[in-house]
């Protein structure tokens, strides 16, 4: 079971959870598992075709999964996945 960290903007869709334990051997499997657990997240992470949105960054520990093997990146129980959308807030 990998730990998936949920960013503030997705927490409502994840039932208020900040961290979720999800099983899966790859980044893709873990994210699928997350979407099964919290279906409301799915539309925010994936296109209708099932691909991850370009604006969704996923980090495995401190590395960008896109620069590893993206959704095929292997993960183990000791890995932490972080979903990271950009934030805009600053001035207002």
């Amino acid at each position: 079971m990998s730990v998936v960290r949920i960013p503030p903007v997705l927490r409502v869709a994840a039932g208020g959870e900040r961290e979720v334990q999800v099983s899966g051997a790859t980044v893709g499997e873990v994210l699928d598992g997350l979407c099964d657990m919290h279906p409301a997240i799915k539309a925010q992470l994936k296109t209708p075709e099932g691909d991850l949105h370009r604006f969704v960054n996923v980090y495995v520990n401190d590395e960008d999964a896109r620069l590893l093997d993206w959704t095929d990146t292997l993960v183990s129980d000791t890995d932490t996945l972080m979903i990271l959308p950009a934030m805009a807030g600053g001035a207002g």
Partner: protein, 395 residues
């Protein structure tokens, strides 16, 4: 009988040979030239000194020499007229330095004979007092403080992030601050935008911040730009400044700044905030990843609520804005390790700082080898992305 001053000088001459300015002058720029140590007082040094010489006031010579030279290093000691340098040279000889000479006639003769002289820019007595805690830090020092006084920083937004960043940059003596904000102070801003005050509600934020900065440090030149940064003005604005602090509250402005900072080669200090969480990084043009290497596209509006919609802990702004001010100062001074290549995530609820690696994207549409940098219609672009376009659709 105790030796007189003249006796001491005569004795020192026995131990410390004198070198003439005509012999020293051709050697000062050479790679194998001697280490010239000027033992005069600070006020004398400030009036002018030999190029390349190192200032160690006589009273600090014994304590500092170990960090400057090895025992076999060729050292020329100089002072005003060539007497203090003889005594200082003798002390060095007694400490085991074996290749020490004294400049005959000192700086006075050096200058009189038309040799090159450096007159350093120095802080005024008032500045030295105001910035004394900076001057004491070896990484900053008087030279660094002068660099800050000569620096120009543009702040996008005088709000949550811009308030603490501008306040501390002004206190630090950054000589010129530009504040871009078309908004006026609202009562709901005061929970976090600490540069504004209750009696300035309704005043333009740049003007309000200027008043606070004037009260804190009247030496700082504040340029108020009471409009929004846009495609037409961004390049001119950035061109006037050495560094930009991004405290914007929307994606179109953030992507505009990201591209414009690459075009003008202006270092960009980034932070963003929401609720209890903050992000910070530094983007140095051509020397690390850019904003779009990290976030190629903005999320759609429902995934990117503003602080006005989702709320923000007031104190979070102080932490993140001051991280920006810290990074800005480091970039301006060229010291330390900046957040370039790293995204710092601060979670105030957990009180954790997490670091992610940000790498340069070889296919980055803004800084990759095939990128063509042009300012686009960021409003339309940000509104359009994330609308389930098939992969590969040009945006």
């Amino acid at each position: 009988m105790s030796p007189s001053y003249q006796d001491l000088l005569a004795d020192s001459r026995e131990v410390v040979p004198e070198v003439q300015d005509t012999d020293l002058a051709p050697r000062i720029e050479a790679d194998d030239g001697p280490l010239i140590i000027d033992v005069r007082e600070t006020s004398e040094w400030d009036q002018g000194h030999i190029p390349g010489s190192v200032h160690v006031p006589r009273g600090f010579l014994e304590s500092r020499i170990g960090g400057l030279a090895t025992h076999d290093r060729e050292i020329v000691v100089s002072c005003a007229a060539g007497q203090r340098s003889l005594l200082a040279g003798r002390t060095l000889a007694e400490m085991g330095f074996s290749n020490v000479t004294s400049l005959a006639g000192g700086f006075a003769r050096w200058k009189q004979n038309g040799n090159p002289v450096v007159v350093p820019r120095v802080l005024s007595d008032k500045q030295r007092a105001r910035y004394s805690r900076h001057v004491l830090i070896p990484e900053v020092g008087e030279e660094g403080q002068i660099k800050l006084l000569d620096s120009k920083v543009l702040l996008i937004g005088a709000g949550g992030l811009g308030s603490p960043a501008a306040y501390y940059l002004a206190a630090a003596g950054v000589g010129t601050l530009g504040l871009v904000d078309d908004d006026v102070v609202d009562e709901s801003n005061l929970q976090r935008q600490i540069i504004h005050t209750t009696d300035r509600v309704g005043v333009n934020k740049g003007e309000s911040a200027k008043e606070a900065i004037r009260a804190l440090n009247p030496e700082v030149q504040v340029n108020v730009h009471p409009y929004r940064v846009n495609r037409d003005n961004v390049l001119d604005l950035l061109g006037e400044y050495d560094l930009v602090v991004d405290g914007a509250d929307n994606f179109p402005t953030r992507y505009l700044l990201a591209d414009a900072s690459l075009m003008t080669r202006t270092p960009l200090v980034h932070a963003s905030i929401l609720r209890f969480e903050g992000h910070a990084s530094v983007f140095l043009p051509d020397d690390g990843p850019c904003y779009r290497c990290l976030f190629p596209e903005p999320p759609p509006p429902d995934l990117a609520p503003s602080c006005g919609e989702a709320g923000v802990l007031g104190v979070l702004c102080g932490v993140m804005g001051n991280i920006q001010a810290t990074e800005a100062i480091k970039v301006l001074l060229g010291i330390g390790d900046t957040l370039s290549g790293r995204l710092l995530i601060y979670d105030a609820l957990e009180m954790t700082f997490t670091e992610l690696k940000v790498r340069r994207d070889p296919d980055c549409p803004s800084c990759g080898p095939n990128a063509t940098l042009e300012l686009r219609d960021y409003e339309a672009w940000c509104a359009g992305v994330g609308r389930h376009e098939p992969a590969g659709t040009a945006v």
